[in-house]
Symmetry: C2
Subunit: 197 residues, 2 copies
């Protein structure tokens, strides 16, 4: 029951945070929704901030699973990015059906809120974003090796651009309540990379 309770608290907190900020969700909300008492929450997490960090970590695990699936190397590297965008949009669409509103990026919105909460929180945020960028950078580097992308493209910088584009589109998607806006990323990324295919 132990791990189960901890996981349930995180899952419930994650659900409540979607469409709202972490600050808008109280520990009592979380406990009520998880069917758990305050003492249990504070048995597993030293503070509300720590719970927020755990939620971010949980979302990063989810995202990494999606990334690992999309970036399997059975298709050309740039196609993997396309495949990820498609999965990402599908994820947003599912969340929209489930919560009634289009959420922003599950990582980006949390990262943005947490970035002002002290150094350790910002370090976690940076680690997550860099981890994500790594997937893009690797694929872009490989695309360069194949000649799909010009030699003068720096994979790390290009990955930053790609990630930024997706984050921004996710924000607009949330504001306009339309996940499909993010699909624009697929063609944009080819343009940003000056890709030949």
């Amino acid at each position: 029951m132990a791990r189960d309770t901890r996981d349930r608290i995180i899952a419930v907190a994650r659900d409540l945070v979607h469409g709202a900020s972490l600050a808008e969700v109280s520990t009592e909300d979380v406990c009520r929704a998880a069917g758990v008492h305050k003492g249990s929450l504070y048995h597993f997490f030293p503070s509300k901030e720590a719970l927020g960090g755990a939620v971010l970590e949980h979302n990063w695990d989810m995202m990494r699973a999606v990334l690992d699936e999309a970036f399997a190397d059975d298709v050309p590297p740039l196609d993997r990015i396309d495949r990820f965008v498609t999965s990402f949009v599908r994820m947003l669409t599912l969340m929209r059906e489930r919560f009634g509103v289009t959420p922003g990026c599950p990582l980006g919105t949390l990262v943005s809120e947490v970035a002002g909460h002290g150094d350790e929180a910002r370090a976690q945020a940076g680690r997550v974003l860099n981890g994500w960028m790594g997937y893009f950078a690797t694929a872009i580097s490989e695309a360069k090796g194949r000649g799909d992308v010009p030699e003068d493209i720096d994979p790390s910088t290009a990955a930053t651009r790609v990630l930024a584009l997706m984050q921004g589109l996710a924000l607009l998607a949330k504001a306009h309540d339309d996940p499909d806006l993010v699909l624009l990323a697929r063609s944009d990324i080819r343009l940003l990379l000056r890709a030949s295919r």
Copy 2:
């Protein structure tokens, strides 16, 4: 003293919100910092949400001033976008010096938070974003007329892409505490528009 007090409340609230979310700032924080009593705040604003809306409106006014200056038609249309990006980065840098942390986009972060607060708030968010996009769309349309941008570019869609890119870069800038990241937008935008100059 009347308008003065109202403006001071908005200005203080705007300052406190930077680097934090609206939900993290209490009305008491705002009153204390503005040297004003609760009753005064609620004399001018019917609710905390209304204050949030006023802050968003205030930030939109500021941004519009920057936009109007940058989009003066004394340079080619795409150069106006460059000029805006530069001003935008300068704004972020100033705010970083003033508050100690890099804020996200003053509009984007508020829009993102407010988007889940009911229909009227979302409508305001959409209106602000569309207003912003309008500047880009007009410039892109004009660039098309001059042949700087291919005929098949749809100004409205392209403007969405440009805005998304800037929002995403601003988010990364906040997470990495480095406003200059947004400067990447200048070259990216040319690529997104397949601009010939």
